[in-house]
Subunit: 202 residues, 2 copies
C-alpha cells in the first residue's frame, strides 16, 4: 500500500487524472492483475474500462494508511540516526510530527533539533503522561533498546518504529515496524556476491 | 540470511557453541523446518542430532554474505541521512568502509565527517577512476537521485544502497537494495489503524 501511495502521489504531481491498471502495472513493474487484486481488496476503486481516478485512489489509500490524521511521534535515542530523522521535514508533511527527543547523554539534553527539544530519558514518563504520543521511534544501541521498548509499552505506547539492531519481543497488541539497516546492507552485499558469480558463469 | 547472521552473532556473544534447529527456531520465531530448509540450501551445515556449530555457521554465512572482504563505500548526498550513515561506526566493523562523501552544497564540500572528506559532485568521476568503489549509497532527494544513479552506473559502480524515495530504473546487472523509510513509516501507520480496528472489534 505505501508503494501504491507513493506512485499515485507521483502521478498527481505529473497532473495525471486517470490511470488504467495496465499503465500503472508498467510503471510499478507488477502485473496488472496483481494491481487489480490489491486495489479491489481495498474497496474496488476501479471502474472497468475507465481506469482509476488517481486523486480519489490516492486519498482513499492515504486514509487506509492513517495519513488523514496527525501522529505525534517521539524519538528515543538522539544520536546520529535520531537526529537525522528529526531533521527530516518530509515526515511532518505526511502528518508525522516529532514532539520530543530523548537521550541519556548530558551533552545533548536540553539542546534542540529543528526546534524540537531533547529531554532526559528520566523525563519520559512525565512527558508521555502529559502529551499524546502515538509512535515512538527507537534509535538506540541494541543493548538499551529492549528495556526502552518495554518502558514505552508500559507507559501506554503501542506503536514502535524500531531502528535498533534486534527484533523486539513485545505484547501482541504493540505494532512494531523494523528498519534493520545492517540487515539491508548485508543483503546488498549478498546480492553483490551472487551477481558477480552469475556474471562470471555467463 | 542477514537475520541468521545477526542471531548467530548474538549466540557467539553469549558463548553458545552449538544450537539445534529447534532452539534457534524458538529464538528467531520461525519454524524449525524453515530453518533446516534455509540452512540446507546454503551447503548443509547441520549434523543430524548434533545441532549446528555456531561459529562455523556464522563464518560460512558471513562468507556467503560477502563479509569476509572489505567493501569500499561512497555516500552520495551528505545531508542528514548521509552524515548519519557516515557516523555509523558499526558498518566499518563489518567491512563496509566509507571512503568519501559527495554533495553539491558548497557549505559542506571540503569539510570532514569522522575523518571522511566531503567532495563536490563534480569530483565524483575522478574519484571513481582513482579509487575502487564497490558500493554507492544514495542519500539524495528523489529529484536528483535518478540522474545520480545513472552517473554512478556509467562510472562502473554496480551496487547501490538506495535511500532516495523512488524505485530506480537501472540495468539488470546493477544490484540495488532499497531503504524506503517513508514507506516503512506508512506501513507502521497502516498497521496502527488496522490494530486499532481489531482491538475495537474484540
Amino acid at each position: 500500500m505505501p508503494r501504491y501511495y507513493r506512485y499515485l502521489g507521483e502521478l498527481m504531481d505529473e497532473g495525471v487524472e486517470r490511470i488504467s491498471s495496465n499503465e500503472l502495472s508498467v510503471r510499478m513493474k507488477v502485473t496488472a492483475s496483481q494491481i487489480r487484486q490489491d486495489l479491489n481488496n481495498f474497496g474496488g476503486f476501479g471502474q472497468q474500462g475507465y481506469g482509476y481516478n488517481v486523486q480519489y485512489l490516492y486519498e482513499e489509500i492515504g486514509s487506509i494508511l492513517g495519513l488523514d490524521c496527525q501522529h505525534n511521534v517521539i524519538v528515543v535515542g538522539a544520536g546520529n540516526m535520531g537526529q537525522a530523522l528529526a531533521n527530516y521535514v518530509k515526515f511532518e508533511k505526511r502528518g508525522f510530527v516529532i514532539t520530543g527527543l530523548f537521550d541519556i547523554n548530558p551533552a545533548l539534553i536540553g539542546t534542540m533539533i529543528r526546534g524540537i527539544k531533547i529531554y532526559s530519558m528520566d523525563q519520559l514518563p512525565e512527558f508521555v503522561r502529559n502529551n499524546r504520543v502515538d509512535i515512538a521511534v527507537l534509535t538506540l544501541p541494541k543493548e538499551r533498546a529492549e528495556q526502552a521498548a518495554e518502558t514505552l509499552v508500559r507507559l501506554g505506547i503501542h506503536a514502535i518504529w524500531n531502528f535498533a539492531h534486534l527484533d523486539l519481543d513485545l505484547p501482541e497488541d504493540v505494532v512494531v515496524e523494523n528498519v534493520h539497516l545492517s540487515d539491508s546492507l548485508m543483503q546488498l552485499s549478498y546480492n553483490i556476491v551472487k551477481n558477480r558469480r552469475e556474471q562470471q558463469n555467463k
